[in-house]
Amino acid sequence: MYELSTNCANPKQLRQTDYSDYDAIYLGDFSCLEYPNNFSSHPQLLEAAVTQLKEQGKKVYLRLYATPGNEDLPQVKEMIEAALLLPIDAFEVHNLGVLRILQQMGSTLPVHLGVFGNLYTDATARVLKDFGVTRVYPNPELSLTEIHYIREKTPIEVCLPVHGKIPLVISETCFIIENSSCATQKVDCNGKEVCNFPCSQDYWLNRSNGEWVLKDTGKMTLSGKDLCMIEHMPELLRDGQNLFYVQSHGETAEYVKTVGRLYRQALQQAEQGQDEQELQVPIDALSALSKEGLCNGYYFEGAGQTYIGRG
């Protein structure tokens, strides 16, 4: 058995996107509490989404804010309280303090460690297990060999990203608002600045004289290229990996749907015993969805931007 999961930030995205090829959904945008109707910061929006996804037979995980300052902790606690009343299957945390808060609040739900949890070692995975962590998202810098070791030696479930841009940086402030000329700040009736969500457009960072490209979503910077492991799915299944994740933060509904369908097909073929050579790999369709091309991240020990392919 395996699980194919992805993320969904808010009710609008849930309405507009076909998630039928996914088994599980990570609800919310962990990088920005102000993101419009973010499931991670709007307790009142959660119930309808959880009910809908549960009726479709999916697992539902709630993402908690990744970089809370002291002033944000009350809001995070409120979110946890509301979520504990709903049939969600796990929380995702990126912050050790939030992990401790979950334990103090008496939550017995499984916890998944998110990408900014800085998980590099089995020793750390064991510490986190004592706090209720059942699944880890290894730091993107780890190789497949290191990930395998952590999964077996801890032992612990591993969520393995197989497609999508790699989260490279998280920040406390919004880069787009600080630097974009169209990001005018509105002021509400109390004189408080209100975000006008320039991040609803795609933003790219291009090195002025060179080939480097990154994608920026405001409080996160992502790889310019899309991680793509579809050629390696048989190998990953043989290795015992079974929790596959499509990182779709900031992507279109078409992207989420197409990538989900193609990976579902690849998994079905691999499960039927087709190996790498027999697998019909829809690389062209995936390339067409990625503006800057494909990469393998750090899985094969090279720089994150490189693509090795089947070799």
């Binding site: 809370p68 050790l96 900014f116 020793a123 940086v169 090195r207 002025s208 720089a303």
Partner: protein, 330 residues
């Protein structure tokens, strides 16, 4: 009593800052700290620095703040034991699993959490102090009032950097992989230690790709001037009396990758300023602020030279990575 901890990017610098008034120097172990090899020390030099410090009733903090591979942990613990036996009192660590193991196996060693731990709030501080941290290094974003509150709630030692990011562009420390995305290179040395060029978290060097010039482009337009991705932190001084009265126990002078003369002058300036604050009720910090202005200028000059060098090496490594994968695919 507040401890001034100053960098030992080279043996010369480590000995120099102890003479210039630091209570402790922190030195990185080759391949095991968040800096390149040229700002780290070989074991023989580390031993010598420890002896020098102990003779003067000062101490040495060993920087082993990489996030290692799981299989390197036994090697990591052996090293920590060895330096501790040589007389090093404290260790700067990022990996929480390693922190717990050091606390269990070497209980007399003091643990400083590293920036790599990415603390953002009180609850993080509690988590790490319960795990065995002796000192936690706080991020720039916490106010003096927040530090005071942490001290009221916890016995953990508070460490702060003597530099902070003025505003905006605050990439969370310890949560950035931009450098390795472009330029990662990995190899094993003869002792079985993994080396990771281009990744600070893994013991290579951050190649400062955020400091080259970038254009920000959206679907419809190019946005104004080219820019760097992160603003640089700057050295601070005038808030020192407030920080000390809030209960900060450890002041960390930055600069392992700067020149020894600059770092020694900086350490000496902070030493005299702290002594003045501790010895009188109404310290006059103005003359130190004037001195620091000059030091800031030298600091910036050295920084831009360093950034240019690192960015050049990132570009070279990035091209090499892409060429070698092209060859593999061909």
């Amino acid at each position: 009593m507040v401890m001034i901890m100053a960098p030992g990017g080279t043996k010369e610098m480590a000995l120099g800052v102890l003479d210039a008034g630091a209570d402790a120097t922190y030195v990185g172990v080759q391949g095991w700290s968040r800096r390149g090899n040229k700002d780290e020390l070989q074991d023989d030099d580390i031993h010598e620095v420890i002896d020098y410090a102990l003779e003067r009733d000062k101490n040495v903090r060993i920087v082993v703040n990489t996030l290692p591979s799981s299989t390197e942990i036994p090697m990591f613990l052996e090293r920590v034991k060895m330096y501790h036996e040589w007389g090093a009192k404290g260790f700067m660590i990022s990996d929480v699993g390693c922190m717990k193991l050091v606390n269990e196996q070497i209980p007399t060693a003091e643990i400083h959490t590293s920036v790599g731990c990415g603390i953002t709030n009180y609850a993080d501080v509690h988590f790490l102090s319960e795990l065995g941290a002796t000192y936690v290094v706080l991020p720039y974003r916490l106010s003096v009032e927040e530090i005071r509150q942490i001290k009221q709630e916890s016995n953990v030692g508070i460490e702060v950097f003597l530099f902070k990011t003025p505003s905006g562009g605050k990439i969370c420390p310890g949560k950035c992989m931009m450098s390795s995305y472009f330029s990662f290179e990995r190899w094993l040395d003869e002792t079985g230690k993994d080396h990771f060029f281009g990744s600070a978290s893994r013991g290579g060097d951050c190649l400062r790709v955020c400091q080259t010039m970038w254009d920000l482009e959206s679907e419809q337009q190019l946005h104004g001037q080219e820019m760097t991705i992160k603003s640089n932190p700057s050295l601070w001084l005038t808030e020192l009396p407030d920080y000390l009265s809030a209960g900060v126990e450890c002041l960390k002078v930055p600069g392992r990758d700067r020149s020894a003369p600059l770092v020694m002058d900086l350490t000496n300036c902070y030493r005299r300023a702290v002594d003045e604050i501790l010895s009188c009720d109404a310290p006059n910090l103005q003359r130190y602020e004037i001195e620091l202005q000059q030091l800031r200028h030298r600091w910036q000059q050295e920084r831009s030279k360093r950034d240019d060098r690192l960015i050049d090496s990132a570009l070279a490594a990035s091209s090499k990575a892409l060429i070698s994968t092209d060859r593999l695919r061909a």
